[in-house]
């Protein structure tokens, strides 16, 4: 009986869309999030995610395609942050802190002031995976395929500049261009993840699975693939438990990922000390 009702729920359109979007995103979040951890960019990801709310506000006011305006604003912010990072007059840490919260605040204020538009702010802050439409799913799949393709092509080069940028540069890698590629991939992924886990939780979907996978891995590739696996598991279990416990989906996914991280972190491992 229970199994039949489960099948019924899972095969409804909106659950299928949610699963497809969540799983495909978790697949690229594994390798991308690994880079964020290796390069200590998690605060950078947070800042991008928060600034995306400003993108939503601008999109709504100018009445343009919301998904497109989020993507464009994320890409622009990523480029600005990369440029500012090259000429540090303020420490990167401080700069990111200022931008993360000021853009979030400006985004919320602008949304509140624009009386003509009524938006469900909570959906953007915490995600609304179950309200995903076929159009949203199309955006997610297109971006995921693109990001996965670029990651695959540039994998060794991106890894080289991550291990040691200077050695990679002497070997002939264009470090600045590769940095920019990575940052833009992160921006794109964050832009389409917004609907799934929300502005406030996106970075966790990117960094918790690879952090959990770290102790199980001896090569970068292992860490990336295992992170994808843990991400997919968290999405499926999180979505399922959100249904049965009647709790918000985004936070449920993050809670599941965190539990996996904690279990793996404190479980004695034979590999690493």
């Amino acid at each position: 009986m229970m199994f039949e009702s489960f099948i019924q729920i899972v095969t409804t359109d909106f659950v299928l869309y949610a699963l497809a979007a969540g799983i495909s995103l978790a697949l690229v979040a594994g390798p991308l999030g690994s880079f964020i951890i290796w390069r200590r960019m998690s605060y950078f990801g947070d800042t991008l995610a928060h600034s995306a709310l400003l993108g939503i506000a601008i999109g709504l006011i100018t009445d343009s395609n919301p998904q497109l305006s989020i993507i464009i604003s994320c890409l622009i912010f990523a480029a600005i942050l990369t440029l500012l990072d090259r000429n540090p007059s303020v420490s990167t840490d401080t700069l990111l802190g200022i931008l993360a919260h000021s853009t979030l605040a400006i985004g919320i204020v602008v949304l509140a002031l624009a009386e003509s538009v009524r938006v469900n702010l909570e959906a953007y802050l915490f995600g609304a995976l179950l309200t995903i439409s076929s159009v949203d799913l199309f955006w997610v799949l297109a971006v995921v395929l693109f990001v996965a393709g670029v990651l695959f092509v540039f994998w060794n080069e991106l890894l080289s500049i991550t291990v040691n940028a200077e050695l990679a540069e002497i070997d002939g890698a264009n470090v600045q261009r590769l940095n920019l590629i990575l940052v833009l991939l992160i921006a794109l992924t964050i832009a389409v993840s917004m609907k799934i886990v929300g502005v406030l939780l996106i970075t966790s979907l990117l960094i918790i699975p690879p952090a959990a996978a770290r102790r199980l891995s001896t090569t970068p590739e292992q860490m990336a693939i295992k992170a994808s696996g843990i991400g997919v598991g968290s999405i499926v279990i999180g979505l399922g438990s959100a249904f049965y416990l009647d709790v918000p989906v985004g936070p449920a996914i993050v809670v599941v990922a965190t539990i996996v991280f904690l279990v793996l972190h404190f479980y004695p491992s034979p590999h690493t000390s």
């Binding site: 050695l167 002497i170 891995s217 090569t219 970068p220």
Partner: protein, 260 residues
Amino acid sequence: MEALNSNSSTLLSAESIYKNFGPRKVLEDINFSIDRGQIVTLIGPNGAGKTTLVRIALGLVQADAGRIIHQPSLRIGYMPQKIHIEPTLPLTVFRFLQLASRNENGLNARSLIEVTLNELKIVHLQQQQLAAISGGELQRVLLARALLRQPQLLILDEPAQGVDLAGQAELYQLISEISNTQDCGVLMISHDLHLVMSATDEVICLNHHICCHGKPEHVSNDPAFIDLFGAGAAPGLAVYTHHHNHEHDITGNIKSPDDV
């Protein structure tokens, strides 16, 4: 950077390089060149500008004046003084070296890595995590990485740092063998004067400017060298004193004769 004639035996040359960091003059009028099969050693006190000069030669830092010219598409193998490995990045020694291999063909790359590791006596490290090996082992891995580039010019920043005494002599011996067998030029920074002297063709004694340069036996007798390192700095090499043509003050500037 401009290119040298590819028929020339000179791999890389520096022409009147100047570099300041703020008001501090780090390099003044530096000229030198490295030929195929030649080992050039940079010595000098801490803060003499050795690493800066190497970084300029590598193209990582721009000189304020002067130029570096080298053979067209010169392949450089660089071994840094130290390298930070992010502990969150799981990376075996083998994978690290594989990333640096020029050869795209997986099988060839693998056998070349094994040959190189054998040469450096670190085959047993292959599957170890890079972050978990000792400082001396890491030096050898970094040298292996530089060699895997199949370099025409090897640039080594204190290659024997952290290597035990017996290993140091062996390492310099190895570098000199590599230079011979592969006919590659070597530019290295070193503090181990007595060890380096025997395995080097040309010594450049640097203290912001080039104090003296030439064959090791010549340099070790040079008053400028003795000034910087003391008379016993290069044991095993005959030392005699002669007229000092200039002296250095504490910051390395040449004292004018009036000050002396």
